[in-house]
Symmetry: C2
Subunit: 324 residues, 2 copies
């Protein structure tokens, strides 16, 4: 196998729990997966060593020169131009880590670092639900709400590398308190955290105990979004209403994004996107009501196609774009 | 004067009342202005003839070959790729007018058509408050609220040419009715129309008659935003509160735009931007509260620099960019 005929890229997704990597082909297929605990409590240097060891193992699987670039996605504030992780909420010790240069010095292979939500968005654009589309927005509905914006085939980073904080659009000016300290952010309405908080609130204030009866094995404090999801699948009215409400506010946010940016597609990923059937009707109604017909025309809102692999594939894709 | 050393461009701003044009130099200065009534009631063909006569007069002022391109801005839905005004709210008869080709056929000078808000945004970017900045958002606070988005030095048109409808971001999901038929749009909170509507509402429902006493020469129905502005300058409390409230909601919208797009600058133009001192404090407070520190850092919100000329200069600038 000649290395110039089959260039490959490594995509890495650094999470708070696991570092996951994949060797990615130029068509966006993961050829070889590896995973490693992040173990952030062992300190920054050992986390970096584990990351480098993971990359080394991937490189060693192929003839020298096959891997043409390494892309790394991490949560937090990333200085893309300098290739530095400025801060990362999931990895407390990571402050001003010049990861791009560290990786290049070790392997003599060029590297690129980006925000994990941008990497996931790029993955969906390159090889997922957005394949063939040039302008799209990816909203990741997880513990929080992340976002990535692709315009004319490129990630839009903004002037300071902070674009795409879709979870912190204001949806209700005097609305729910968000984890960011602010009020009325989308994240306070359409994240797993928000779903759980809303369920607790409804359980505490509603005479309807059916939801509590269905889910409370560990009492209300141990409540998870997955339990609420299952209760909704079992047609619990309170649980269903929580997802309908989420759909409404998500629809408000998407409508604003469409009127602002007029993309071809909006892709919804993250764990909560699995509840598509539960929130989709109210989301779509809100979008239809609020978006100009000419903007809505031809535009599609679809579920993500790559699941948890979007970050790995996207990081590999960014490397492929940079170093092909 | 050699025409290759001093290329010039014509910028045209088609409004509902007047068609205004200027010969624009490569540094964004208007050399020669002309104006003509639009007279839409005389029909589409005569409006087009008046537009062409205006352009002809500008061309005739210079040696042949001096004018290298013609840029035209018009309100409404513009098909930029085809150079067609699809519909224009200000000019009822303009439907599917292939203006780019009409202009080129008449003068053999290349032309480009864009939305008037985009043209104004490009003007501010090219020769106004945004000179030297590559990524910015212009919000025009007029009868309605318009917007234009410049990313990396180019107008972001969106996939269907409809990007920048910032006036129709949802600010309050269950909020005020907007002219577009929707609820809670920015335009329903931060336009001249909104200011007047809000004043009428407050006058009708408030025991405070001081505002009415100050302004109502023609009764409440003839109320204008300029009268409310003057009442606020004269420290009428109700009028001041209207602008403070406007500032708050404008701040909510700007905060969302900043978290989504992370531009270097937001520029506020249009007639209402003259009330800067009245709405700026509440606007800034809202932005500071809602925007991530790292996004706010280095970002500036400033008044527009070109006033009513932004559209003409910007249209000329788009032509200069396309045809230089």
């Amino acid at each position: 196998m000649s290395d110039t005929e089959n260039p490959l890229f490594i995509g890495v997704d650094i999470g708070g729990t696991n570092i996951r990597s994949g060797v990615v082909s130029p068509d966006g297929t993961i050829m070889k997966r590896l995973s490693q605990h992040t173990l952030t409590h062992e300190g920054k240097d050992r986390t970096i060593e584990r990351l480098l060891a993971l990359i080394q193992r991937s490189i060693d699987e192929y003839p020298p020169g096959t891997i043409k670039g390494i892309g790394i996605g991490a949560a937090g504030a990333i200085d893309i131009k300098r290739g530095v992780i400025v801060t990362s909420p999931n990895i407390p010790g990571f402050k001003q880590v010049a990861l791009r240069d560290i990786v290049f010095e070790r392997f003599s292979i060029p590297a690129v670092i980006d925000n994990d939500a941008n990497a996931a968005a790029y993955g969906e654009f390159w090889a997922g639900s957005g394949k063939g589309i040039t302008s799209l927005i990816v909203i990741t509905l997880g513990t929080g709400v992340g976002g990535g914006i692709i315009l004319d085939g490129l990630i839009w980073h903004g002037s300071g590398g902070m674009a795409g904080e879709i979870g912190h659009m204001t949806i209700v000016p005097d609305g729910r308190r968000c984890r960011c300290g602010n009020q009325g952010c989308l994240e306070a309405y359409a994240s797993a955290t928000a779903i759980v908080e809303r369920a607790k609130e409804l359980i505490r204030h509603s005479p309807d105990t059916t939801l509590l009866d269905m889910i409370a094995h560990d009492g209300i404090e141990g409540l998870t979004s997955l339990e609420i999801f299952h209760a909704a699948l079992n047609r619990n009215q309170l649980a269903c209403e929580i997802f309908r409400e989420m759909g409404k506010y998500l629809g408000v946010a998407i409508a604003s994004l469409l009127n602002i940016l007029n993309p071809e597609m909006v892709i919804l990923g993250g764990q909560l996107s699995g509840a598509w059937d539960l929130f989709h009707p109210t989301m779509e109604a809100e979008v239809t009501q609020r978006v100009f017909d000419v903007v809505a025309k031809g535009m599609r809102i679809v579920p993500a196609g790559l699941g948890d692999d979007a970050g790995i594939i996207g990081a590999g894709g960014i490397a492929a774009q940079e170093f092909s």
